[in-house]
């Protein structure tokens, strides 16, 4: 379409015809989008295929289907203990992040105070600062300044900080559109602050709080680089387990674990999308009518 830039619209219309240009454009838009989805999907589809394949490294030569890879992965003691470890860390860290994030969202949307903009900016930084820098900085800080050796506590603290911005952004977006006159009405009818929060505010923001928790949970669960610097020898984390196996190209177990993760995420996402407005939360377009 570069030729159009220098000429007015009529000349190009004469050249091809308005209808045809329109059609061509929209077709190419669909083609590009289709190719993109293919790009996003082919690698994941291949992992799933290889998880069921006798030859786990590459498609050709294809030697038939098997469930052995899954059996191997699920039987692995180290896999199960690191999966439990990651679940625990993610759940504790996301819970802390949710409590802090919800409180902070109220402060940002309801009150004016000094350094409010600074506070907001610093509340979002943990999300954008490269993981390697946050990981190394926290490691040095804990080990050299505070004398705390890396372990479960340090990784939970790091992940709770990392999860905070996700909760903060999602919940404060919801609170901005919240009609405060509802709370006023409840207060006028004699409800105390606790009742107002429990019966009026919480039900409205609950989906956003849930989405924020989920985001913080996923971020913690899939994090490798912060966990690398902040876990000790006794803290097992799934990403570290996977990383060392990818390095050795130990494909059979990895493919199976990866496929299970894709399935798990697919099911969770399908449920979440039917229950709530996931796209809204992700793309930041949550509006009053859900």
């Amino acid at each position: 379409m570069a030729t159009e830039s220098s000429e007015p619209a009529e000349s190009s219309d004469r050249l091809l015809g308005h209808q045809r240009v329109e059609q061509l454009l929209s077709t190419s838009l669909y083609v590009v989008s289709g190719l993109l989805l293919l790009f996003l999907w082919v690698p994941l589809a291949i992992i799933i295929l290889l998880a069921f394949a006798e030859n786990p490294v590459t498609i050709f030569p294809f030697e038939g289907f098997t469930l052995d890879n899954f059996r191997l992965a699920l039987d692995s003691e180290s896999m199960r203990s690191s999966l439990t470890g990651s679940f625990t860390i993610a759940t504790v860290a996301a819970s802390i992040a949710t409590v802090l994030g919800v409180l902070a969202s109220f402060a940002l949307t309801r009150y004016r105070f000094r350094l409010r903009e600074v506070y907001r900016t610093f509340g979002i930084i943990p999300m954008v600062i490269p993981g390697i820098i946050l990981g190394v900085a926290l490691r040095i800080y804990f080990q050299n300044l505070l004398g705390i050796l890396p372990g479960f506590t340090t990784v939970v603290l790091a992940h709770s900080l990392y999860g905070l911005p996700f909760v903060l952004l999602i919940v404060s977006a919801r609170l901005y559109t919240f009609d405060e006159s509802l709370e006023e009405a409840a207060r006028d009818l004699g409800a105390d602050p606790i009742t107002v929060f429990r019966d009026v505010t919480l039900p409205v923001i609950a989906p956003a709080v849930g989405a924020g928790f989920l985001f913080a949970w996923i971020r913690s669960f899939e994090d490798y680089i912060r966990a690398l610097f902040l876990t000790g020898p006794n803290t097992d984390v799934l990403t570290i387990w996977m990383f060392s196996r990818i390095r050795q190209l130990d494909a059979p177990e990895l493919n199976a674990v990866s496929a299970l993760i894709v399935f798990g995420v697919a099911i969770a996402l399908a449920i979440a999308m039917n229950v709530g407005n996931v796209t809204g939360y992700v793309a930041g377009t949550v509006t009053e009518e859900e």
């Binding site: 379409m1 830039s5 009529e10 190009s12 838009l29 669909y30 590009v32 989008s33 993109l36 790009f39 996003l40 690698p43 994941l44 291949i46 992992i47 490294v57 590459t58 498609i59 050709f60 802090l100 994030g101 409180l103 902070a104 402060a107 009150y111 105070f113 506070y119 900016t121 610093f122 509340g123 979002i124 954008v128 490269p130 993981g131 390697i132 820098i133 946050l134 900085a137 926290l138 040095i140 050299n144 300044l145 603290l157 900080l161 905070l164 903060l168 952004l169 105390d192 009742t195 680089i225 690398l228 990818i246 990895l254 990866s258 894709v262 995420v265 999308m273 793309a283 930041g284 377009t285």
Partner: protein
């Protein structure tokens, strides 16, 4: 109203506590502010300090005497400045991150535009297929490209078994192209969702009006679509560029030892020899450049508009 009579006393006290504007502010701001101060500001400040101190290579203790040795060692490799591991790694990281960002922007715009213009069923299905990789573990996605690339990887072996090529192609081996593909795959959803959020708020009747008034498609795109979605473009670029600069997992696996980006260099120095002075000094350069990019971006958008992902 209250169902828990026995707690009435404690409850009354809690209510009184929650009523004062000062204590309310303290309760809401306090905990997260404490977290940010002790787990973000203090560690970063300490890192700045460490970058100016010597660290004993025997005891790994910090020797609290100001020095510039760490910064000197970044640029001191015996040869020319631009040949030191630090400068090469940093430069390469910027190049790779820039290419990745441009690629993501070019790929995501058509899809985001299509999604914003078409609601309904198709939209829900497409967004599901975009979100699924987005929520899938980063490590799994990086690993999927480890299988795709390489001399015996899926791409090469498929092309060979179809008889399209006789020997594995170099471009599908591990290296910089593989890293760019892996990073694009990893951060593409951030760009798409941020762009979609800003295109979704776009009033498409403006475009029709401009077209009716005789503007060409390119003119409409340049004069209306781009300026109106600028916050999304800048926000999305930031969300792709910043993590790409500091990437570690993707370049480690898809470079297979042939490529060193800055994140790998820092990890290598800390995990290998615990050279935290060197690592801190190197991190300062990354941090400063990221802050610079963000300040530049904030001239066009507010941090709230960036809240997309």
């Amino acid at each position: 109203m209250s169902t828990d009579e026995p707690d009435e006393n404690r409850r009354a006290r809690a209510v009184r506590l929650l009523s004062g504007p000062r204590s309310r502010l303290g309760i809401t701001v306090g905990p997260s502010a404490a977290w940010i101060l002790t787990l973000l500001v203090a560690p970063l400040a300490f890192m700045v300090a460490v970058s100016f101190f010597e660290v004993s290579s025997l005891t790994y203790q910090i020797i609290y005497e100001p020095t510039l040795n760490n910064y000197r060692s970044l640029f001191d490799g015996g040869g020319a400045i631009w040949q030191t591991p630090f400068v090469t790694a940093l430069w390469l990281s910027y190049v790779i991150a820039t290419v990745t960002t441009v690629l993501c922007l070019a790929l995501a715009f058509p899809l985001a535009y299509l999604l914003a213009r078409n609601g309904g069923r198709l939209f829900k299905v497409v967004i599901f297929f975009v979100l699924l990789p987005f929520f899938t573990m980063y490590l799994v996605r990086a690993y999927s490209w480890v299988l795709m690339f390489g001399p015996g990887g899926v791409i090469n072996s498929t092309l060979m078994s179809w008889g399209l090529i006789d020997a594995p192609l170099g471009i599908f081996n591990y290296g910089v192209p593989a890293i760019i593909v892996g990073l694009t795959h990893a951060y593409f959803p951030y760009m798409l969702l941020t762009l979609y959020a800003s295109l979704d708020g776009l009033d498409f009747s403006i475009i029709e009006a401009a077209r009716d008034l005789g503007a060409s498609r390119v003119e409409v795109f340049r004069d209306h679509v781009i300026p109106l979605t600028l916050p999304g473009i800048i926000g999305g670029s930031l969300f792709v560029f910043v993590p790409s600069v500091g990437a570690f997992i993707t370049p480690t696996f898809l470079g297979q030892g042939k490529v060193q980006m800055i994140g790998m260099l820092i990890e290598n120095r800390v995990a290998g020899t615990y050279s935290i002075g060197y690592a801190s000094a190197a991190s300062m350069f990354v941090l400063v450049s990221i802050i610079g990019a963000m300040i530049l971006a904030f001239r066009y958008v507010s941090i709230e508009e960036l809240g997309g992902a």
